[in-house]
């Protein structure tokens, strides 16, 4: 029998999960980065300090006097988040506090302008979890290409034209570069598989020393898809092999998220206007499609992404839901 339903305000106080990033932030509808940041902070828990690089996440969460954060949080500038985090960590070390330090940045702040500070932070062995929310372009400034933008994707600075089919260059393999620092733990994850993401965050925060997480976070605005399809798009990135989900320890690949049913990359492209120009029959489009399919196949081969048989943590098994869900005790 329906008893009186508690008001949302009452319910908010009793949700059976830690809230690090709360409602009222100003991300776009269906923002993958907002979702990723929410999931990551939930997994980190309350004893942490966040340093955040300049970018969408920083802007939409902290227009003064409103902050959507419930963890201590600091933003300095675009390219120094790893160093700021290192400073916080150094301070906590001297103060003898065990609070975890986490750095948040987008792909621009990680692959490009902030990379030197990131490399230095890892090399010096700071006990910091660095999370890169990878939405594959400079979204905060209006969709300019970054070194994370996939090959042939269209952005305002890698536009499609008579002479060009979007970005001419390849997506930088930042995980491999980071892994070359021989750090204890580095991994990719995606919003399409929240349980995998949360497990990796927990793994990283309990690991001593620098750890790195690259979270594939669709941007409905920049990728040109409906906000409702954020998960569907992210899922296809994995199922096509376009975005390999792997774990690297001390430079060695130790685990992958296997694909049970491989999808062609065009399935991924169809949902996004940034790849729309690749769907035609003109020779360049055909060639680029083949090129991108080859890149995805290369990922699958390189990391052995095809699941031999249905494993409980492959692209299907990992997402399986059951009545009662995963959310623990109910408020």
């Amino acid at each position: 029998m329906p008893t009186a339903t508690p008001t949302a305000t009452e319910l908010r106080r009793h949700q059976p999960r830690f809230v690090g990033l709360d409602s009222g932030h100003r991300a776009c509808q269906g923002c993958g980065e907002a979702l990723a940041a929410r999931l990551v902070t939930e997994a980190i828990g309350p004893d942490a300090i966040i340093a955040n690089a300049t970018g969408c996440l920083e802007v939409f969460t902290t227009p003064w006097p409103n902050s959507a954060w419930r963890l201590p949080w600091i933003h300095s500038v675009f390219e120094n988040v790893a160093a700021v985090a290192a400073g916080v960590e150094a301070a906590l070390k001297v103060q003898g506090r065990a609070t975890k330090v986490v750095a948040f940045a987008g792909d621009g702040g990680t692959f490009d302008i902030g990379f030197q500070a990131l490399s230095g932070m890892i090399e010096r062995g700071h006990d910091v979890l660095y999370v890169c929310f990878d939405n594959e372009a400079y979204m905060n400034t209006g969709i300019q290409r970054s070194s994370s933008t996939p090959h042939a994707a269209s952005t305002t600075t890698s536009p499609v034209g008579r002479m060009r089919e979007g970005k001419r260059h390849l997506k930088k393999d930042v995980l491999a570069i980071v892994a070359a620092h021989h750090l204890p733990y580095a991994a990719t994850a995606t919003v399409a598989y929240p349980r995998d993401l949360e497990a990796k965050v927990r793994r990283a925060v309990t690991t001593e020393g620098p750890t790195f997480l690259q979270v594939h976070s669709p941007c409905p605005l920049g990728w040109g898809h409906d906000g409702a399809l954020t998960i569907a798009v992210a899922r296809l990135a994995v199922e096509t092999g376009f975005f390999p989900v792997i774990e690297i320890e001390r430079g060695r690949v130790t685990a992958v998220l296997p694909i049970r049913e491989k999808k062609p990359v065009v399935d991924y492209f169809r949902l996004q206007t940034r790849f729309r120009h690749l769907l035609g029959d003109d020779p360049q489009a055909v060639e680029e499609r083949a090129h991108l399919q080859a890149l995805a196949d290369h990922n699958i081969e390189t990391y052995g992404l095809m699941a031999a048989h249905s494993s409980p943590r492959d692209t299907v098994g990992l997402a399986t839901v059951h009545r009662g869900g995963t959310g623990g005790g109910i408020a």
């Binding site: 029998m1 329906p2 339903t5 319910l11 409602s23 509808q29 409103n66 998960i231």
Partner: protein
């Protein structure tokens, strides 16, 4: 006016002051839609609902949800042809949920645990209704009327309740003990059962009408159809149903050593054929104009109406089936059958639009036989209702069971000459009971229908993993004796596993997807049952209406609707 803090610092969670709900042009809502199994059930059961309760670990709540529609689950779990499973969305994914096994399990559990039927105390001035016929339709009507607070007088011509369940369904399908236990528990809810009361002989319709607020007629069909092959008829002809009743209730062994031909592809025909095998008939042929149940080449309406697994078992037991054939001639010697001539037959569309049966010349075959048993159905015995039925073979009523001819008189079950199944009869009884209650309270009639069922494509199948359907163990042919139940059902473990396979079409699976995937934390989890019965509420102060939750809802329970302009 806000006062600037040093360094423009902000307080945790202060963004809650900023209501992003204003951005919304569409909003998610929880919208329950009938699951295909619910939509398909003639008895109006909602298997999705009771499977959910079972999956939650509450079998009693599951049983109560079940008997809100059908008070005889232990029986129907065994004898129903379960169209619910034919429509189950899971069937398009891997295999349908074994709903009848779950239904049967719950029915048996209720008997074993003696869970009482939830019925209200009778008020002194409770209206009284007469129900004629204690078959599935009558029992269903009686129970639902009782549930709705009515006094019920139930009349039947036989000494025990159950109608065809008792008369014509052999024990290897429906053990007597199960049938009696469930029906007795049902009658024990406070239904006055009057045995051996034949309408038109012991009780009279107009008299019942006078003494009760309404009358529900469920006399069933007990008069065999006229039968002959090309006008010929053996002197010693026995009708199939009669033979079955005799064997079931008197225990006469009908045909030791004989070679018998049964005509008719319904459940009765198949049961007669099997009974004959069990009682030692040498050879049993079943001739039917329909196709075999598993014959994909034939349109469903052309297939035998008998339950497919029963047909399969019959063949295992040695019954020889001649699908798409008909009897063209009886070969008689001194009025006794020595053989039959059968020929291939198809149902074809005629010029008048009706389908006609065409036997093909030159396909005739002769089968040596000692007896031919027709199982071609029965019609209503008009005794006591001559005024209502006139020259017709069946009673005619609307969807609520109302008879055009007489106000306050309702009818249902086989007597309507429609589906002629147990579950259809139970559905008739249920609907009629509600109509009767409204009739007595002088309330306006309501409309039927629960909306379009959830389609396979309305589900987000990414969240379901393949899992094989649980199969019940079956008694080996050698051990079958005609009374021991052949199907053994599923144990608790395997029923639970089966329940876990349910997609929960159109209802909340409480899987946490919406709660986990909302970028705006606008989905909140709650224990208190919500107005819409779900486990989550949408916080429209912050929901931006992106539609992610609806897109990722596995069970199609979340719909996006245009944002209401005025709130």
């Amino acid at each position: 006016m806000a006062v600037l803090t040093r360094g423009a610092d902000a307080l945790p969670g202060s963004a809650l002051d900023f209501r992003t709900g204003d951005w919304r042009d569409q909003r998610p809502i929880h919208r329950h839609r009938p699951a295909p199994c619910h939509h398909a059930c003639p008895a109006g059961e909602d298997p999705q609902a009771y499977i959910a309760r079972l999956d939650e670990g509450n079998p009693r709540a599951a049983w109560e949800a079940l008997i809100a529609a059908n008070p005889l689950p232990a029986i129907t779990g065994r004898v129903c042809h379960h169209p619910c499973e034919d429509d189950c969305n899971r069937g398009q994914f891997d295999q349908a949920i074994a709903i009848h096994e779950i239904e049967r399990f719950l029915g048996d559990a209720a008997i074993r645990e003696d869970w009482p039927y939830p019925v209200p105390e009778l008020a002194d001035d409770a209206p009284e209704v007469a129900v004629v016929g204690a078959g599935p339709a009558g029992l269903s009507a009686a129970y639902h009327l009782r549930r709705l607070g009515h006094r019920v007088a139930l009349y039947d011509r036989y000494g025990e309740a159950g109608g065809m369940l008792a008369l014509a369904i052999p024990g290897y399908r429906l053990p007597r003990a199960v049938r009696e236990a469930e029906i007795d528990r049902l009658l024990a809810t406070g239904i006055d059962f009057h045995r051996h009361q034949v309408l038109g002989r012991d009780v009279y319709l107009d008299d019942l009408g006078r003494r009760h607020g309404a009358v529900f007629l469920a006399p069933g069909c007990h008069r065999p159809r006229e039968w002959s092959v090309d006008g010929a008829r053996p002197d010693d002809a026995r009708d199939g149903l009669g033979l079955l009743k005799e064997w079931l209730n008197v225990g006469v062994t009908p045909a030791p050593g004989k070679r018998v031909v049964v005509q008719g592809g319904g459940n009765t025909g198949v049961d007669i054929a099997r009974v004959l095998r069990f009682s030692g008939a040498g050879e049993v042929h079943l001739v039917t104009a329909s196709a075999l149940p598993d014959d994909e080449s034939a349109p469903p309406e052309d297939r035998m109406s008998a339950i497919p697994r029963e047909v399969a078992q019959a063949r295992d037991e040695g019954v020889i089936i001649h699908p798409h054939h008909t009897l063209t001639r009886l070969i008689l010697r001194e009025g006794r059958v020595v053989g039959v001539e059968i020929a291939a037959l198809r149902k074809l569309d005629g010029d008048d639009g009706h389908r006609r049966r065409v036997a093909f010349e030159g396909t005739e075959t002769v089968i040596a036989a000692d007896e031919v048993v027709p199982a071609i159905g029965e019609i209503v015995d008009p005794l006591g209702i001559e005024a209502l039925i006139g020259r017709e073979r069946y009673l005619r009523a609307d969807a609520w069971g109302r008879l055009a001819e007489a106000l306050g008189v309702f009818a249902g079950g086989d007597a309507l000459g429609q589906a002629g199944t147990v579950t259809a009869a139970i559905g008739d009884g249920h609907r009629a009971a509600e109509a009767i209650a409204r009739h007595i309270r002088h309330e306006p009639e309501s409309v039927l229908g629960g909306g379009e069922p959830v389609a396979f494509d309305d589900l987000n199948r990414h969240y379901f993993d393949r899992a094989p359907r649980q199969k019940a163990t079956v008694l080996p042919v050698a051990e079958r004796d005609g009374t021991t139940e052949i199907e053994r059902g599923l144990g608790h473990e395997r029923v639970a596993a089966e329940a876990r396979r349910c997609f929960s079409c159109g209802d909340c699976l409480a899987c946490d997807n919406c709660w986990t995937l909302c970028p705006d934390l606008a989905v909140l989890k709650t224990r208190a049952a919500t107005a819409d019965g779900g486990s989550y509420v949408f916080d429209y102060d912050y929901c931006k209406g992106c539609g992610l939750c609806a897109e990722e809802c596995p069970s199609g329970y979340i719909a996006m609707i245009e944002e209401p302009t005025a709130t």
